[in-house]
Amino acid sequence: MSIEIESRECVVDSGGGQVEELVVNVGPSHPSTHGVCRVIVHLDGEIVTKAEPVIGYLHRGIEKICENRTYNQIVPLTDRLDYVGSMYANWAYCRAVERLAAIRVPERAEYLRVIVCEMQRIASHMMAIGSSAADTGAFTMFIYAFDERERLVELFEELCGARLTYNYVRPGGVSFDVPEGWTDTLRAFTKAHRTALDEMDKLFFGNVITRQRLKGVGVLSAEDAVGWGASGPVARGSGVNWDLRKHDTYSVYPRFDFDVPTGSNGDAYDRARVRLFECYESCRIIEQALEQMPEGRIKAEGVPRLIQPRPGEAYDHIESARGSLGVYIVSDGSPRPYRVKFRSPAFCNLALLPLLAEGHTLSDLVVVLGSLDPVFGEVDR
């Protein structure tokens, strides 16, 4: 951890008096579990007057690399954007490609995509809630959440061979069909998961110290959420009822019956709680999808190895665990895209950090960062 004082200057504060403002650099690597994020914090005693995130430590030039890869070769790259939610990034990209190349995905593949993405949503939220808990010192909650995540990751390994970067959703369908007994294990998981969520709710969210740490911290009003382009649980925690699965629906989501949890206060507590309740809803969707899933092909017929869509552009977005994940592809008719642009929800949500952290103490800064749930693979690309 590099914590250095950048400067110590006397500034005139809002009351007209002279205060000594400390500018501290909270280094790119720190034990908080969110990745490489540097925050330059201006402190007036204990209170943060300004917090500026500096990003780019995980920038790998993925969008530029995509320009030199064929459409199928880009899929593993999308895994590494939001590495906590690889299935989403795969899916968003594949939807954009399918829109561009006019590929129709078979039903079974759509259902499989929905199932794995809802599983991914649960896994991602478990990571988010667990990390927030670890930040506030509740290590047991972290372990409990990761236990749930571990079951899902094991299911993913059975399905596609990888625990973290799946390369599963491909243009035209998915890569593998479910193995024997996988759906039964998944059904058992969703049943057990609800009990685990109840336990976590009582252990962490019911705890008086958690409430003291999370309530009233990083309050985001609904107008600010919409104005600053927040999406996902960050926006829904402030009461903005916007979920792409319902309001700009795609794939087979219209066939499922589920609710969209929203918070009311817009503080870190509500955001975390929204994530918890989304896990219940995801369990519902998975159960319905498993029941409704038809037999059939898992990949569209006639999709060539080398996809060469006609020149044009396409944008498609899905509701990822972090918010509205969009992919914009410009094709010039060749097998390699001219430009691929990822609209990263974590990037847009992270921009809220200066707004939310102002006026709170340094300890609250960590809580706010955790509640925004950034994954720096996605933020920096």
Partner: protein, 316 residues
């Protein structure tokens, strides 16, 4: 033997007791926390992982002794000992059997409350001498926390002293009656919570786990110096549990003879496990919430306890 030799003997003995207490404390912590987290904990080094701490200590001793270049070397090296020694001294006045304490002092209760508080200075100078902004902030917060929680702890122990009418620990244990337990239950609660805060543990460990965000007050300490900080923390836990089990819960007066001493030690172990339980269940409190709890919640509760005891005393 001359008093100097007796003193040296007891000094070494106290150090050993704390070291062994820390050994079992760390092992217990790892096992208890593991079970709470649905894991097993160390089980490879020795039966039930009992030798794990020994292995870790050997590793720590073999580490390079690094002193940061900018740090104030003398104070930096002295600070861990200033944290460790007062806690070891504080254990001297705790009675272990009827009529016997290692140091039978007529102001023993005051001794126990006052002397271990000196370790707050060690915390402060450890952080300060590291010449590392956040270590300093951690040290200052640690010292402020330890000083604040002195008050409710002292007031709650005072209620027991009032009931006994003496500050001599051996005499307090002689005077102990079973109905003191329900009478001083509130005081016990205050004492328990304050003790957790005193040793920088559990929900009150912001000074040391400031490392969630930045470096804690002993971040720049490596190897055996860090181990001394840890030993003093567990020493504090053991001392607080022994003290609480003796004076609030009856200790060796609960059962006659040797059974009493066994019961006492079991009660103390129960309290130690309870402290670990609390640590692994609750998140950490923010510094301002910590201070609010000390001054606005625990101190009034301790005063209420004193009032209750004060009302009952004329009837004794």
């Amino acid at each position: 033997m001359s008093t100097f030799l007796w003193g040296a003997f007891f000094g070494v003995a106290a150090g050993l007791v704390i070291a062994i207490g820390a050994l079992f404390g760390v092992w217990g912590e790892r096992k208890v926390s593991a079970r709470i987290q649905m894991r097993i904990g160390p089980n490879t080094a020795g039966p039930f992982g009992l030798l794990q701490t020994l292995a870790d200590t050997v590793k720590l001793v073999l580490k390079e002794d690094v002193t940061p270049v900018r740090a104030d070397a003398g104070v930096f090296k002295f600070a861990p000992f200033l944290v460790f020694t007062p806690i070891a001294m504080g254990m001297a006045v705790i009675p272990f059997a009827r009529g016997w304490a290692p140091l039978d002092s007529s102001v023993g209760m005051l001794f126990y409350l006052a002397v271990p508080s000196l370790s707050a200075i060690g915390t402060l100078i450890g952080g300060w001498s590291s010449r590392n902004t956040f270590a300093t902030i951690g040290g200052i917060r640690g010292a402020a926390q330890m000083v604040s929680y002195e008050l409710p702890r002292t007031l709650s122990v005072l209620s027991v002293v009032l009931l006994a009418g003496t500050m001599r620990p051996v005499a307090v244990m002689d005077a102990w009656q079973w109905w003191w337990i329900p009478l001083t239950l509130l005081g016990f609660l205050v004492y328990f919570i304050s003790s957790i805060a005193e040793v920088n543990r559990g929900p009150f460990d912001l000074p040391e786990a400031e490392s969630e965000l930045v470096a804690g007050y002993f971040a720049d300490y490596t190897g055996i110096r860090w181990a001394i900080f840890m030993m003093s923390e567990y020493g504090g836990v053991v001392a607080a549990s022994l003290f609480g089990a003796a004076f609030f819960l009856g200790g060796f007066r609960l059962l006659p003879g040797v059974l009493g001493i066994v019961a006492y030690l079991l009660l103390a172990v129960l309290l130690i496990v309870a402290m670990m339980w609390v640590k692994w269940t609750f998140p950490r409190m923010r510094p301002d919430q910590l201070m609010t709890t000390a001054w606005k919640v625990l101190t009034p509760m301790a005063l209420v306890q004193l009032a209750i005891v004060g009302v009952v005393i004329p009837w004794l």
